[in-house]
């Protein structure tokens, strides 16, 4: 009965969202009362949808296996926490969560934005339209409420064991919050374009929404990367997997967007960029949903499915993208301003970097689609991997950082005179060069790109340290959030380049009680235990590792076999320090009784996530400082 109620509430909310959409476009007069009416209908729709979702969580918690989806992805033996997270472990449930989050952003917007905001009614209308589109997709092609009747199975099929992990439990919700958070910027832009009154200043009010969404997206991507590192046992932090790329593209677009937005909200410049980017960010988020859920690309993330889903998502995304682009191009003359961008002003640097970000997005898109195009034309499968992306990302990122370096201390709408910042620029250059050269000599690095990246990262950090210094001495104001976020970027570039320079790995064959030496570390295979757990058997090895500095520690990598799905997983053992991780995975046993053990030294890998976290934290403080501006 509860299942039918939840299903019915979801259908009801679709109807209410449709009503919201129709009303918002029917009433051309946008006074307070109409806006309030529209917000109210929307909020009721949201109430229905969340109630339905909470009932669904309740069903999962209580092992209601007459729901097909819960029977397929949960199990009565699971801890309650994973019973809830199993909801977003596959297509139907994660789509459901995606939609709930989409509507949640809309609900927050409708409650915080004042009713005399002339764009509010249509913005909510646009959000409702998107909600209707995706709810119909959910209910028609991937219904999570489908039941197994008359007899429910005794137990569920269990969640995929690699997904039974806290980082992965929160990675999808974070990522989805980020993806769909840009719906507010998108809907506002559309509402502004429909309205066509260019004197409306809407940019300032959506900064807080866009920056919050950007923070969620950043955290979501970083969590995914961290999870892949310790759970999949491949040892890297980024694999240029198509699904990582479809998350990276909206992130790049969103980064360009929030910069452009800060220009537009101050000076009404770069408005074309801002609106176009808001459309691009949201379209790329939808494109990501399409790629992952249509099954056209083989990836760790792909969901099993039927062709109708891909077709529906593609048509709906296409419809949204084209109607917004047609609207955009119709209003284009309105947006062009006679005022040219002053050369060497802050906005000039931001617009140059927008172009670089655009290039990166386009190249990533090409990297995702090229194998498909090739397969379509030549019926052969090829894959595009790290060398392609490195060849594009490294130089483009360095170039963007150089522009960033020059833009520090530049002025809004004024040519900036290099002489003002001459000293700090000169000294950051000298210091970075000195550090780079000493690292090069001390560690014997010969790869030019690594040296250049190292130099660029240092350049940014030291330049910003000068800014902080000037603030402390001369009380010269600078935006602290921007400083912290960009230092995070510098740190990220340094850690990535040092990681790729120093990290190394080796597979060794080792017998129990045998030992081996890798890079002055003595590795002794001490013991092998068979452990029986409630839902899996495990082989746990124990390695005693003596470091050259005389420290000794024990690492216990495992191989597990899960009963319900028969799946075998590798559990890595990691000894983490700030400088490097010692990362051990247990491979297969050979016929002579020895084991293949893979040992990796991953340098500066923690710093990659620390810098991503630093960016996210400064973003969230910035968003917090903007509270009140949404009015």
């Amino acid at each position: 009965m509860l299942i039918q109620i939840a299903h019915f509430l979801a259908i009801l909310s679709t109807g209410l969202f449709l009503t919201t959409f129709v009303f918002s476009f029917l009433f051309t007069k946008k006074d307070r009362n109409i806006t309030r009416l529209i917000s109210r209908i929307y909020s009721h729709g949201f109430l229905m949808l969340t109630s339905s979702f909470f009932i669904y969580i309740w069903l999962a918690l209580n092992d209601n296996f007459s729901v097909l989806y819960i029977a397929q992805h949960s199990n009565s033996q699971l801890p309650s926490f994973y019973k809830i997270t199993s909801i977003w472990s596959a297509h139907e449930g994660s789509m459901y969560l995606w939609i709930v989050f989409l509507c949640l952003w809309g609900f927050l917007y409708s409650s915080y934005s004042p009713n005399d905001n002339i764009l509010k009614a249509r913005t909510i209308g646009v959000i409702s339209l998107i909600a209707v589109g995706f709810l119909s997709f959910l209910l028609l092609t991937s219904n999570p409420f489908e039941t197994i009747l008359p007899i429910a199975p005794m137990d569920g099929a269990d969640i995929n064991p690699v997904l039974q992990d806290p980082a992965l439990a929160i990675h999808p919700p974070m990522l989805y919050l980020g993806y769909v958070g840009f719906v507010i910027a998108f809907a506002n832009a559309i509402s502004f374009l429909i309205n066509g009154d260019k004197s409306i200043k809407w940019e300032e009010s959506i900064r807080i929404w866009s920056i919050s969404a950007w923070v969620f997206l950043t955290v979501g991507i970083a969590l995914g990367s961290w999870w892949a590192y310790y759970e999949l046992g491949w040892g890297g932090y980024w694999f240029w997997d198509p699904v990582e790329n479809v998350a990276l593209m909206p992130w790049l677009a969103a980064t360009a967007f929030i910069h452009s937005l800060s220009v537009s909200s101050k000076s009404q410049l770069l408005r074309i960029w801002t609106i176009l980017l808001s459309i691009i960010v949201f379209s790329l988020s939808l494109f990501g949903a399409f790629i992952v859920r249509s099954g056209i690309i083989d990836s760790v993330h792909s969901f099993a499915n039927d062709p109708e889903r891909g077709l529906y998502l593609l048509s709906f995304t296409g419809l949204l993208v084209f109607s917004s682009l047609i609207l955009f191009s119709y209003r284009l003359p309105l947006l062009t301003s006679k005022k040219l961008i002053t050369p060497f002003s802050k906005e000039s640097f931001i617009s140059i970097n927008n172009i670089i970000f655009g290039t990166l997005i386009f190249s990533t898109m090409l990297g995702i689609l090229y194998p498909l195009i090739y397969e379509y034309l030549y019926l052969k499968k090829i894959s595009v991997g790290a060398p392609y992306y490195n060849a594009i990302f490294v130089p483009a990122t360095i170039l963007a950082c150089i522009f960033l370096f020059f833009s520090i201390d530049s002025k809004w709408q004024r040519t900036y005179r290099i002489i003002n910042a001459y000293t700090s620029m000169f000294f950051s250059g000298i210091f970075s060069l000195a550090i780079t050269i000493s690292v090069m000599l001390y560690c014997v690095i010969s790869d030019l790109w690594i040296l250049v990246s190292l130099f660029t990262g240092l350049l940014i950090i030291i330049r910003y340290l000068f800014v902080i210094f000037e603030f402390l001495i001369n009380k010269k104001y600078s935006n602290p959030y921007s400083i912290a976020a960009h230092i995070g970027l510098g740190l990220l570039i340094i850690s990535i380049s040092l990681n790729s320079q120093f990290s190394s790995e080796r597979a060794i064959n080792i017998k129990i009680n045998g030992d081996d030496i890798y890079k002055d570390y003595r590795i002794k295979f001490d013991n092998l235990e068979l452990i029986k757990m409630s839902n899996h058997d495990s082989v746990m090895a124990s390695f005693i590792i003596d470091s050259p500095s005389g420290k000794t520690f024990v690492l216990n990598p495992e191989k597990r076999k899960y009963f319900t799905r028969g799946q075998i997983t590798t559990e890595t053992a990691i000894h983490a320090t700030l400088l490097k991780d010692i990362y051990v995975t247990l491979g297969d046993q050979l016929d002579d009784g020895s084991w293949i053990v893979n040992i990796q030294f991953n340098y500066f890998i923690r710093w990659i996530w620390i810098s991503a976290l630093l960016m996210a934290i400064s973003g969230s403080f910035l968003a917090f400082s903007l509270r009140g501006t949404s009015r």
Binding site: A71, S294, G295, A304, P307
Partner: protein, 178 residues
Amino acid sequence: MITLLRFIIFVIPISLISFLYFFINDNDYYPGADFKVSDMPAFELNSLYENSVVNNFDLEGSYLINVWASWCITCRIEHGFLVQLNSQNIPIIGLNYKDERNDAIEWLGKYKDPYRIIIHDYSGSLALDLGVTGAPETFLIKNGKIIAHFSGEVNKRVWGDVFAPVIKKEKVVWNDQI
């Protein structure tokens, strides 16, 4: 300038979306289906009921292999359709995948048994050679060659979209002797 911008913002998404549309609508493309022709791997495993051994030589001509397990919920949903296929004289070989013998026999007792022969692949060795990633999966074999492979639930629609065209094209004649 405006014309150029208009041109760019339309050409890229139009070409992108129309390409993806053609890709999805392509006849050969069907999520989960794979039509690469490969050899049926050699194997020798116990059968599920009596402890007799089954190997390649027992299986000749054209037949289906269906990978299933008692722990697999989707297999239960698929089951009804397999019973229907069996009643149309289509020989289905069951590959019981990583499953306890007793659980599997009990499962078949509870529902109907649509399989002519059931191979008990406890360690998943044949499944590994076949490239199975989960259950259920279904293979179409003709004279020792795998000519179609589908991952996921086979139902009336998948049968019509994936298997029926191959059966017609390759002029498959089912081996009724199995």
